[in-house]
Symmetry: C2
Subunit: 260 residues, 2 copies
């Protein structure tokens, strides 16, 4: 099914707790894992076509004190289209308008746009990278800027007619979060700000006192396919785009009524 | 001055010894380090705008048993154009003809091509990334394939008029090695094939018996700005392109007479 992870904060943070929890999701999504961090206009992507819990690189990053960013995008993969290979492992990246753009997708989309008609071409065989290339082609050909949130949402809703898609992307300044219009896995978020509490992971007997880990002036959101912790995560509204910047929602951010 | 490293073998190998030696070159090239490995049509790039010997990530990779490839391209950076930042750290990558292309450069080039005229745009401020974008633009606009070695050499010699450039690039199948026409640092290679010998690093009291590390059927080349080991490295001929595939030179490969 694949699962997604994203963080956006007002200052560079480590993602140790969230990434620790998220790596467990690789147990059932065993065909690859990846995580991107931004540093200015450029990004670093770490990914491997192996199970996250078995990756020494993933464990290294989880504990690496320099692995900080205001924006992270992560993915664990269960192969549907495209074999288990580096070229089919999310997140994907392209240079667009002199920025690196990172993209990760959960779902299955069969676009009608043939690949030769795309201005940006896929390297691998996934429907996800095809969708990414189609999105960039559309933004490019129609001259739609990164801050035209409504236009971007309309494009994504149009693509959504061709399949299921929860997706995350970023150009290093904004974090774009689109929740599928249908019943595809889900996508939810939790806000993190002072005063911080103790939280425990859903997938491991692991508790952290965030008050000891975070500075009081750190503020942001963690986004995941399913809740990673015992906090009250909020489910995004189906068929909607939410955009985050510096840890705050600046577009959309509509949620389903909480069940708790 | 920056320094370069590349490996090309007939089967995936680790680059522990060469990368260990190469990381020492980061002591005097302290503004960044990076290394790319290919896996099929896709690549992984690890890079940081810090000194290689101080990077825990570089040390991790050196010892990581999954860090294998037939093609590696590495770089340590002493900033000339562009501040110390991730976006200015080599190697650079672009998707071109549905493949990832990786590029690293040593030297200083002032191209006359203005950036808006480029089909591929730089993310950072380095002359190197500008040169990379100019090369891809030229290959794209003139429809020159990756196997048109003579045409590629002619383009590189033309660019060389605008400054100094030792450079390495690869699309995952070939390793392209261009040696500056002038007196820019140098670029040399050593062949590795059975029977393997004991070798020791130039920059560290470290000796390895390659016979224990390598399989007898492994064969390839290591390329570096300056010799990394006590072997008899051969200097590439100035102003020439050499192309390697599966560990063997298939174009160029002209060398200066050995001094030893």
């Amino acid at each position: 099914m694949c699962e997604l992870l994203a963080l956006n904060f007002n200052q560079p943070v480590r993602c140790s707790l969230s990434f620790r929890g998220f790596c467990h999701r690789g147990e059932r999504n065993a065909d690859g894992w990846g995580i991107a961090r931004f540093d200015g206009r450029a990004c670093q992507i770490f990914k491997e076509p192996i199970q996250a819990p078995q990756s020494k690189l993933a464990t290294f990053l989880r504990d690496y004190e320099s692995f900080k960013s205001k924006i992270f995008i992560g993915h664990v993969r269960l192969a549907s289209q495209g074999e288990r290979a580096l070229e089919n492992t999310h997140p994907f990246v392209r240079v667009f308008r002199s920025r690196e753009v990172v993209f990760a997708h959960n779902g299955t989309v069969s676009l009608s746009i043939p690949k030769p008609a795309l201005k940006f071409r896929p390297v691998g065989e996934t429907d996800s990278e095809h969708l990414f290339c189609a999105l960039l082609t559309e933004l490019s050909q129609r001259g739609i800027g990164f801050s035209k949130f409504k236009e971007i949402e309309n494009i994504l809703r149009y693509f959504n007619h061709y399949g299921s898609m929860n997706l995350l992307f970023s150009e290093g300044e904004h974090l774009y979060v689109y929740r599928d219009e249908g019943d595809c896995n889900g996508l939810c978020m939790i806000e993190r700000k002072a005063p911080f509490d103790r939280v425990s992971l859903e997938d491991e007997d692991w508790e952290v006192n965030l008050a000891e880990e975070k500075h009081p002036d750190q503020r942001g959101v963690v986004i995941a396919t399913r809740p990673l912790t015992n906090e009250s995560w909020k489910e995004f509204e189906p068929g909607s785009l939410s955009v985050f910047k510096d840890g705050q929602c600046i577009y959309g951010g509509h949620h389903l009524p909480s069940e708790k």
